[in-house]
Symmetry: C2
Amino acid sequence: MIIFQPSGRRGRVPRGVSIVEASRQLGVDIASPCGAKQVCGKCKIRIEQGNFQKYGIVSKMNHAGPWQSGEEEHITADEREAGFRLACAATVEDDLLIFVPEASQVGKQVVSKTARDIDIVINPAVKQYSVELTPPTLENPAGDFDRLCAALEQQHGLDDVRIDAAVLRVLQNTLERANWKVTVAIWMDRNVIHVTPGQGSNLFGLAIDVGTTTVAVYLCDLTSGQVLDTLSMMNPQVKYGEDVVSRISFHMENPDGLDRMSTDLVAGLNRLVAKIPKREYVLRSPAASGDLGPEQTVRIQTDDIVDVCIVGNTAMHHILLQLDPEPLGRIPFAPAIQHSLTIKARDMGLHVNPAACVFMLPIEAGFVGGDNVGVILAEEPHIKDQIQLIIDIGTNGELVLGNQKKLVCSSCATGPALEGAQIEFGMRAAPGAIERLIIDPDTLDVDYKVVGRDAWRSYSSPEEMLTKGICGSGILDAVAQLFIAGVVDPSGAFNLERLSPRLRINSETDMKEFVLAWSEDTSIDKDIVITQKDIRQIQLAKAAIYTGCKLMMRKLKIDRVDRVKVAGAFGSHIDCKLALAIGMFPDCAIDNIVSVGNAAGDGCRAALLNRDKRVEADRVAREVEYMELTLEEDFQQQLMDAIYFPHRRDDFKNLVGVVPEHLLQSAKNCL
Amino acid sequence: MIIFQPSGRRGRVPRGVSIVEASRQLGVDIASPCGAKQVCGKCKIRIEQGNFQKYGIVSKMNHAGPWQSGEEEHITADEREAGFRLACAATVEDDLLIFVPEASQVGKQVVSKTARDIDIVINPAVKQYSVELTPPTLENPAGDFDRLCAALEQQHGLDDVRIDAAVLRVLQNTLERANWKVTVAIWMDRNVIHVTPGQGSNLFGLAIDVGTTTVAVYLCDLTSGQVLDTLSMMNPQVKYGEDVVSRISFHMENPDGLDRMSTDLVAGLNRLVAKIPKREYVLRSPAASGDLGPEQTVRIQTDDIVDVCIVGNTAMHHILLQLDPEPLGRIPFAPAIQHSLTIKARDMGLHVNPAACVFMLPIEAGFVGGDNVGVILAEEPHIKDQIQLIIDIGTNGELVLGNQKKLVCSSCATGPALEGAQIEFGMRAAPGAIERLIIDPDTLDVDYKVVGRDAWRSYSSPEEMLTKGICGSGILDAVAQLFIAGVVDPSGAFNLERLSPRLRINSETDMKEFVLAWSEDTSIDKDIVITQKDIRQIQLAKAAIYTGCKLMMRKLKIDRVDRVKVAGAFGSHIDCKLALAIGMFPDCAIDNIVSVGNAAGDGCRAALLNRDKRVEADRVAREVEYMELTLEEDFQQQLMDAIYFPHRRDDFKNLVGVVPEHLLQSAKNCL
């Protein structure tokens, strides 16, 4: 009897087979990249010694056959003392209880080290296999590739493998040089897409999040899951239109519009990719103990980037693939394809390994795209009991609600106000923009911080803090603080009873406004104000989100949610509690509202690092039910009702006029 | 009980199902390209009426449910009288005996109409399916492709279909225009590569035979198997070297040599392909009766060319794919790949439908390529009892010997003599070349015909017959006739006892020669002669072939063969009996020696029209055993022995001085 831990798989195997072979027979996958040749040392296991009565076996070191000279190089004296062996060298001679450390498991749980810790099982679409081929002889005239296939079948159990014709050229010239020992990277155990001499080296992948405004590229080590670099840029299509609708219009008005937008985006991605070979990266490969192993400094060639996953909203997805986005702009908003799509990097014009496959995540509907599928993969509402509401606020708002029983999604037109557009002094989150702001409820004095500096104005000299506008999170802060402080009433109107030099009527426009920064504190020589109209814009945006959430809750027949998650860059910058205070989300315990960062990018990374997540993505995209909010008969009424701020402002009194604790800390560090 | 004829499949199905559905359940595939909608009329079947005691059933017309109005359009009154119905309209209400005409069978036996009749079961890799999609609705936001998949699954039982991203663009724009009724072409039931509105139209494929000297392209109708056009050209690589070895040298001596040779070939193929849309073709689609149906004149767009198969010798295969051919030139002659390879047309730069897949047939060994696999597919020695020897003489000679028990192949260096090169007055088979020739055994008078004219010299005025050289088949005729007439002795030496002005010693070279055409009959103002050295060249070539055959026979331990087939253009032009007379092949009854034309091209066409042949090709290529002749220890001795002409020249006396019957007929027609 042989038992593997921690999986608990057990069974009988013929005496004398290697432990690697036994593990395969019993369905426990032990890593063996070198093909069980005692070369790579990746298949370390530990023989547990003792009388394991509950299993009815006695396991001893010598039940695993004699020590082999090939193990010397990979197992230290201490490890040997502790019972470690190479699974390809040790054999099954009698009962054995074997512990397989995480580092030796195929599909090991590795926590990736990025801003956000999400657990991703490492099981990439592209895996490496080291093989030693028989040299060609006159007696066996089989081709190089055919002998590679024979070796892959014999040494790794892979059959029916094909090869990209471009890679065949490299294979041929590498084999002889490498004395018939090579490492090949195989996509989905089906198609050879990369060849390196000898034992090979690490390979890499890109997870790409194409937003309407910004594009983020995560460079990942496909072996460890480690995120080595995050490259980002403004979406080059911004010059053709700020939002999805204007991009679609640009396509409809220009015969070459689609081609130009697509080409510009790919060119932009290629500029980011071109930075990678110029940098140095530090790799840490997981060791047998499960900790991270020694550091290794490498340079990465674009040819070593062998896999790519892309998420984006439906319009970005269509424009990138040069699919006509026009139908997305009219009822019934039909996309060209919902299912995921695999396309060769060379066909997309992406300058990574030309044989690499680009996996486009599936989309949910015309207005809920692959980015939302990414959010679901990362936050996993579809496998949890608790009811989650996930709000991804970018240039568009995408909402998901539900749990493992049922998920609904929808899209809401938040408008550009939350990104600082169409606001009197609104601007992007660029240096000089007010991004956080507090208002003293008694004096109505304003304190703020600007993008690019952690200290607040009250701790800085004025010339360090010259501001020129206000970005989305700053506007939200301003509206919420004004409301909680009673300067704005529940209808959104300025309350002129709160006498202050800051609250005034603009003589030119005859409109009420509140001064956030006096002209001497700005670089634009004007008072920066928030106007009555600005407040209306924010009210409309928050009402759109709130209404979406409410209609989805009605659909699921629930009256509260267990957890609210705010995703997207905006979600990372706003104060979720203030957002709740102005009624942006349905009621929820304050502590259960969290910001989850770029969850779309995280989900994309999960699909890059784990092929099973790609299957899951297609299932989720098909199963989540899309709601077209505007077709709900009382949509307009609900939206009107949601324009008002909620009445219970007193619950949030403690949030006004105080710098939030985490910001205070960084502000202090800055001094 | 329901019984299908002629397949004899029988079984029970639920009452009321359509006959198409019943046929699927019982594994009898009835064609139903419109998806069982009574639209295309391709699923005609005949209800046999009567009491079929041997099957224990009574079959009646009314057992197939009531006549449907949709059948009116496709079934004539006569046909209806004879029991014809549409299988998608008729239902199973009781016992039925159903006859499925050939035209309604999927995978029907169609004899293609080319020079050579080979039976090819039509079962192409790319098949068309007509579907009607549900229009998109707000309730069902599935994408265009996803609704296509649903329709394919529901209407044709296809699942897990993918789509080429380039085709997705076309799909999207075609669907709405075509009111959601389209016909898609799917490669291997897996990947959508073409979309047309409505019921679609015929699709086409290319079978390409890349020879060292000539390239032939067969344009085939993928539905009927009909060969619509044969386009050919000189291989543009000829400028880099006449034979395989000189091409490999060109690559080794020029860093860009491989790229240039590959690019030139593809450019040449594209020039041939570009002729297709400019021509008109007459299609004949098979009718229900099994005969050919009405004619239809069409023009073919390159986008409608959706499948390509290519055969070539190993060097041509490698150079086309830009695989390094250098290892083919040295021991152990290892190719890069033996297995077949599929590559997108766009990746090869071939200007057919860019999503089409090009199927490169597998190769057997370094010197026996996909062309020989094609020969085997066409001649099928691997499934026959009788022992066949197939000799494919091109710039290289490739030999196959054996039967279904075992096949061996080899390659022999025939040298260029058989193509007219390295012969004093040798030339290619171009206008003005002597291609057939007879010598009167008594007078030693010579009669001949030249390329481009069916009449012989003796029936023409001299100015109609001005010649300038002699091509391969003419040289073979000359040598054989001289030998049988006793002008040349068994050692190959001229016998000066045969006094004649034609047999002389050249005063300049001091070498014996025989005048084939006096200078006044030539356009080059010189006597055209065959020299002692020319005869040696032919002796060497025929000895190489004979030795190859003999060594292969020894390997298989056989001392005679049942059938000798001579393939290739050369095989079509030579007189196989004369070739036997000079000892080019092992002994065989004269009537069992046949010329089989471009068998390599025929086999390529079989792979194009029948996907199963592709699987068979890989199996054959793997199973046929390659013999490297030069490594047989007595190879040199055997070759020397084979230089001599056989002694039994008297058996062939009747062949000398007489125009062969089939040539006589065409010569007479010409007068």
